[in-house]
Each structure stands twice: as C-alpha cells, then as structure tokens.
C-alpha cells in the first residue's frame, strides 16, 4: 500500500462521520424546510411572517444584550482576577467557571430559585416593599440565565488575553501622559479586541440557540429555539420548524461573520 492511499484510508472514518452526522442531516433539514405547502418560500417565512419575525428580532436582541453585558462583566472581572493575587482567588475563579459544568436545565432551575415565585429576590422584595418581584419566567429570567451561562466561557478567554498583554504598552501610554481611563481606552481594550470577538462570538451563538434554560423557565418565551420546538412538537409543522432551524443557523453564522469582518482590522492590527 502506498503512503498516499494509506493517508486516504486514515481519512475514511472522518469522512464517514462527517457524512453521517453532519452532511446528511443538514441536507435532509434543508430539503424538509422546502417541503411545506409554500415550498422554498417557507424559508422566507422567518422574515415575512410577523410572529416569526418578532421572535427572530427578540432572539437577536437577547443574544446581543447577553453578549455585551457578558463582555463588560467578564472583562472587568477577568482583568482584576488576572492582575491581582489575593487569598481565595483560586476559589473565586473556580466558582466563576463552575457554570460550565451545568446543563441549561440546571441553570434554568437556578434562575427559578433566584427570581421565581418562591425565589430569593421575590422573598426579599416582598419583605422590603410588600411586593413580590418575579421575573424568572420571562425573557429577563432567560437573559439572567444566559449571562450566568456565558460569563465563565468569556472570562477564561479574557484572562488568557490579559495575561499576554505587554505591560510595557500601558507603561508607555502612561509615560506619554495617559491617565488610567485613556490607557484602557487607547491601549488595553484595543489589544483585547481579538479576545472580545472570539469569546463574544461564542456567547452570542450560545444565546441564540440555547434551549434547555428557556424550556425550563417557560414555554411561552419568544425566542427562536422555543418557536422551533413548539412548531415541531405541538403543531407538528415539520417543514416550518426545519426552515426555522436552517434560518437560525444561517442568521447566527451571518452575524458572527459580520462581527468578525467588522473587527477584522483591529484583530489584524493587534496580531
């Protein structure tokens, strides 16, 4: 057997797995999506049908808000954790990254414990103002859950990027007269831009497609994965849910590609 054919033989398992678990289901999904009464136009329903469109906008806004708030929280916390040594630091980092171990259902459960009808926040506000604050079963609860879910993923990336920052850059900016805010704005944040894009993309994609948390909180939250679920199981609308699935994938991919090209110059410059 020649070397070349040996290499091809080694690639065979990969090809089989790719075909069986990726290409074929995707192709099937695409075909099913076009198999409804509207045919190919079924794909456009995600944009033309008002209910679908509203859900799409909702989902994108939720994912964007999750990404932005996660980045803000994780950047401040990550920078502090990377630059300071204090007792309990390791424990704190372990706790912050703990949610990585939880499935969405557990996260949803925790949100209910926190902000549900019997939740901690409701209890607290009841005693303080005589009114129960309950938001676990809404998009706000979902937002909180996604935040909890995304922070560990982002914070680890940010910490690694902060560690790699050249301390000389900040010192140089200071020597030129830059105060603490100017140093952050002109030097630190631009240098972290690639980490923001990379980790933000993960946070965004997770928030677009996560299902477990949403399902645990309520079945009537207007986000795309819930919509796909209800179309599929309750309405048995196979073609619509397939079209929505493909749409969700394409839109998520498109927004990520946009973010990447938008920050492309910053990424290239920092490299």
């Amino acid at each position: 057997m020649s070397h070349r054919s040996f290499v091809w033989l080694c690639l065979l398992p990969l090809a089989v797995v790719t075909a069986a678990f990726f290409l074929l289901p995707m192709a099937r999904l695409v075909v099913t999506g076009a198999g409804g009464p509207q045919g190919l136009a079924g794909y456009l329903a995600i944009l033309t049908e008002p209910r679908y469109r509203a859900t799409l906008i909702n989902t994108v806004l939720l994912a964007a808000a999750t990404t932005i708030v996660t980045l803000i929280v994780a950047t401040i916390a990550g920078m502090f954790l990377q630059r300071h040594r204090f007792p309990g630091r390791a424990v704190l980092i372990a706790m912050l990254t703990f949610p990585l171990a939880f499935p969405g259902v557990v996260v949803g459960f925790m949100i209910i414990l926190l902000a549900g009808r019997q939740g901690l926040i409701g209890d607290f506000s009841n005693r303080l103002f005589g009114e129960k604050l309950v938001f676990a079963y809404s998009i706000y609860g979902l937002f909180l859950g996604y935040l909890y879910f995304s922070i560990p993923r982002v914070i680890l990336t940010i910490m690694a990027a902060v560690q790699k920052l050249d301390a000389g850059l900040e010192e140089a900016a200071r020597s030129l007269g830059a105060g603490p805010w100017a140093v952050q704005r002109d030097v630190v944040l631009p240098a972290l831009a690639p980490a923001f894009v990379a980790s933000g993309a993960i946070a965004f994609a997770t928030a677009m497609g996560a299902f477990g948390t949403a399902f645990t909180l309520a079945t009537n939250i207007d986000v795309l994965p819930m919509l796909i679920y209800t179309e599929f199981t309750l309405a048995a609308n196979l073609s619509t849910s397939a079209a929505l699935s493909v749409g969700l994938g394409i839109i998520t991919w498109f927004i990520l590609a946009l973010a990447r090209s938008f920050s492309g110059s910053a990424v290239a410059a920092a490299g």
Binding site: D166, A172, S175, A178, A269
Partner: protein
C-alpha cells in the same frame, strides 16, 4: 515649555533604594546627580539594579521610604509617571499595535490636547529627524526592528520631555544594525541636548553614548565617571573586567617593580607590598624582542581579529596574559617574545576586589 526642552531637567536621586514585596533588595540606597542636558548611562550585568533605578526615575516604581527623586530641585517622588513629563523608550519598544506610525508618535500630544494641525507638524518634524519618512501610515507589525526603534524614540521625544529615559533600546536588534543605530542615536541625543538616562549592559554602547557612566553591581553603584575614567582608572576588579578587556595579575611590589614570573615590570608605586592586584589593558602591552623587554613569555595562541591580533601569552604572569598586537606582526605560537609595558599603563586595584 519649549525653552526648557532643549536642555531638559536636572535630576537628583536621593538615597533611593528598592526592596520588592518578596524581600529581594533590587537596589541599595543610592544618591546620584544628573546635570541638565547630560547623558548618563547606567551600565551593569542583568540583575544589577540599573533598570530598577531607571523605573524609579520614571515613576514606574516607588523608592523605599526615605528615597526621593527630584527634577530641577522639585520633589517628584509622589508624582505618577503620567505627570512627570518623561519620554521613555522600552526594550520591547511597546509601540501601540492598533495605531499607525504617525498616531504612535503623536499619541502623547493628542493626550495633551494639542490641536491636530500642530500635532501633524510636530510628527512630521520627528519623522524627518529620525529618518522614517514614508512609513507614517504603516502599521507597527509592518516595520522592521530598526524602524520600530526609531518610532519608539520619536514617540518619546515628541512630547518634549524634560528627561529622556532609554531602557536597553538597542538590545533587541542584531549586531550590525545595533552598531549603526548606536552612532545615529549618539548624534540624535547630542542634537537634542536633553537630559538622558540610558540603561544598557553593553559597555561599548555605554562608552560611546555616555557623558558619564554609572557602573552597577549587585544593586549598588560600583563606580561613576566619564568613559575614560572608568576605562583607565577602574576602582575595582569588577569594573576593570566589565569595561573592555583587562589582564588582572597578582604580584608583589619590590623597589618600584611588579615582580612577576616573567620578569620585573616598573610601576609608579613607592611602597613595597607583599600582595597586590594590578590591571593591564591588552592594548597597552607592546611586543618586542626578548632582550630589551622587562617581561618575557611564550605565545600560547593567536586569534586574528582583523584590525589587530590577540595573543595569549603564558609564563609572563601568574596567569595567561592577553596582548593586542598589530595585525602586521609576524609571529606564531610557541615563540618566545618580550613584552614592554609603560609604568603608566599598570593600574593597581584594591586587593579585596
């Protein structure tokens, strides 16, 4: 501000020591005066405290309690670096990768709120001065090492600092480029006439650039002097060996002569001493015929360097003696030669060192 810029500020370091949080003593309390417009070089091996001293002057490190840093007589110790008006060039250059060359150079002016027209003029001036025309709109990752070094210098000088601080600015470059840029840097520093503190571990850089050189060893100042002073009259064995090549010989002094295995070398010393340490620079030793010389020895090996040849001679002193001979001298290993040394060229060192 511009009137002062041509000369910069006078610096006084008053009893500045530095002990790090883990208890390491990076710098013994040192006192040092740097005149307005002077170029002072802090020279020493790594870990000698030279960078720590520079960072204390810059305001990046606080001296231990009791230490003070004064610019033109004004106590600057509690003032952070961003308000000290110092220009700094880092070993890594620390250029901002997210900005172009012009933006890097103009950054300090932008922070100071200088209007963009004036800023552009100053940037153009520095681009011309540091010979980087045509690179203004480049990104930092598109520059060579030498170009980065110039941009870093231009950026530090753009703000018309009172003091220019350079931390091993040529170390990251390859040897040939380093030599060329050293000359260029020397001319530039002379032209600017600004107070400059330059840190290096390279003694030839220190000699060429420094008005005065501070030789440092293990966190303390070993000697301060002009390049000539530290070269010709080192105060310790460490300084003698760190600056240039030096033969260190141990001998006794009898009747104004250094008594060595290879003969008796006349010196300027009236007192007889049983054990002394003396320094003789290789280039002060002349090769002569064995008959006429006060010292003699056998050539061990010869390395031809080009502009001269370096002989290693055995039998003349208690250890091998390095001799710089003219490149035209015809000789070979094993040959016996005479060595002639002027009494002026023998420098006695304190015995403890």
């Amino acid at each position: 501000m511009s009137a002062q810029a041509g000369h910069g500020a006078a610096v006084r370091i008053d009893a500045c020591g530095k002990t790090f949080a883990d208890g390491t003593r990076a710098l013994e309390p040192a006192t040092l005066d740097i005149a307005r417009g002077e170029t002072l070089v802090l020279l020493g091996p790594s870990g000698c405290g030279k960078t720590t001293m520079l960072r204390i002057i810059a305001g990046l490190e606080l001296p231990d309690a009791g230490g003070r840093v004064l610019f033109d007589g004004k106590d600057m110790t509690p003032v952070p670096i961003e308000r000290r008006n110092v220009g700094m060039v880092f070993q890594s250059y620390a250029l901002f990768p997210n900005m172009t060359v012009s933006d890097n150079i103009g950054y300090g002016l932008k922070i100071r709120g200088v209007p963009s027209k004036e800023r552009a003029e100053r940037v153009a001036e520095l681009v011309a001065l540091t010979n980087i025309s045509g690179l203004e709109n480049r990104r930092i990752n598109q520059l060579s090492g030498g170009q980065r070094q110039r941009v870093a210098l231009a950026r530090a000088v753009a703000i018309r600092p009172g003091i220019l601080l350079l931390d091993e600015p040529l170390t990251a470059l390859d040897a040939a480029l380093r030599d060329r840029l050293r000359g260029e840097l020397n001319r530039l520093l002379r032209a600017l006439g600004i107070t400059t503190i330059y840190v290096t571990h390279d003694q030839s850089e220190a000699m060429e650039l420094g008005d005065r050189v501070v030789v440092m060893q293990k966190g303390a100042i070993a000697q301060i002097g002009t390049p000539r002073e530290i070269y010709f009259t080192p105060r310790s064995r460490f300084v003698a060996e760190f600056i240039g090549a030096a033969n260190i010989v141990e001998a006794t002094i009898e009747d104004r002569h250094l008594v060595l295995p290879g003969g008796r070398q006349p010196i300027h010393c009236d007192v007889d001493m049983p054990a002394v340490v003396a320094m003789i620079r290789p280039e002060t030793i002349r090769v002569t015929s064995t008959g006429s010389a006060s010292l003699s020895g056998t050539i061990d090996s010869i390395s031809f360097i080009g502009d001269r040849q370096r002989l290693v001679v055995s039998g003349a002193s208690n250890r091998l003696l390095t001799v710089d001979a003219p490149n035209t001298l015809r000789t070979r290993p094993g040959e016996r030669i005479g060595l002639s040394i002027s009494p002026d060229a023998v420098r006695l060192l304190p015995p403890e060192s």
